[in-house]
Symmetry: C2
DNA sequence: ACCTGAACACCGTTCAAGT
DNA sequence: ACCTGAACACCGTTCAAGT
């Protein structure tokens, strides 16, 4: 009586992510996702819950795709590598990346470690991490959401580099406890 | 033959803004806005264009509501007052405020002035302003979009104060040309 | 000039079916 | 177990009407 499944959570997320990448978040609908899979919208519910859960799944998938750097560097290089890894997924999945600002802050443990090894007062690591990731996320979401659309890629790249310098300065001020 | 208008752009924007404030951006629909005004959805088109234009109108209205500070202060106080004015509207209209990240950066001329009078290299004022507003906007959108929902109001307030200190440090490093 | 009714294509979601 | 059809309430938008 059991019938072989012709779709599963994974291919649904792939289809939805493709829609988001190609046409933005508003293009991610149950109908469009189902159509891309040659199935009816109702078929999705068994596998991904409802639409809100589908979007949660996309965020989850995006977090999975972040390639965090090896820890073979000083904290400065480590920080920069993490920021660039984040920027890479932001460019790959701009629409879904913007959702990160609406989710409770998920701290990659690696960042906390980097800050402690950088010699920051343990009592201030949490706040420093929060501000650091807010600054980077704010810039990247601005970038992929079109706030810098009037500026050339070169200008935006230079701004990002400057931002990383500022973060290093930020950490430096914390180091002088 | 001309019939007296029973709605206009202004009351439509008020109704839409109220919906956004109460229930978020997804609650801002032509249907709901019209219903709130006791009119059919089709009646709105004459006054606000289509839905995208309605949202543009909300952003425009929000920018109007920002009470920029008097220039009776040093650049430090000026910067802080501007940031707090921005935060005030962010709290008043959280959903619409989040849209600012998707609009081409609108620079309040007052900020540029504040930076030049702070003694920053004119050739670097533009980039400094961009990073400054990105940092503030990124924090505020994070705050009103729920990224800090697990943290107490007290914690978020402290983070914001720390952010302002960092911006002052940022400017200080620029002053040492 | 301004609003409405009718119409169309599209949404999310449920529930009772079919295999 | 897994998918579909039918059904419902809700969307955005247009266009030909009504006043």
């Amino acid at each position: 009586m059991s019938r072989p499944a012709c779709i599963d959570r994974s291919v649904i997320l792939d289809a939805a992510m493709a829609l988001a990448d190609e046409s933005g978040l508003h293009a991610v609908t149950m109908y469009a996702t189902a159509k891309r899979l040659g199935v009816t919208p109702m078929a999705l519910y068994r596998h991904v819950g409802d639409k809100a859960a589908l979007l949660d799944g996309l965020v989850e998938k995006l977090l999975t795709e972040i390639r965090l750097p090896q820890e073979r560097q000083d904290w400065r290089g480590q920080l920069e590598a993490m920021a660039r890894a984040l920027r890479e997924v932001a460019h790959r999945h701009p629409a879904v990346f913007a959702l990160l600002l609406q989710r409770p802050a998920t701290t990659p443990g690696a960042l906390l470690e980097a800050l402690t090894t950088a010699g920051i007062d343990p009592g201030r690591v949490a706040q420093t991490e929060r501000l650091l990731s807010t600054v980077i996320l704010g810039f990247l979401v601005s970038e992929v959401s079109g706030r810098f659309q009037k500026h050339s890629e070169k200008t935006v790249n230079a701004d990002f580099d400057r931002l990383l310098e500022l973060l290093a300065i930020l950490i430096a001020t914390e180091q002088g406890h």
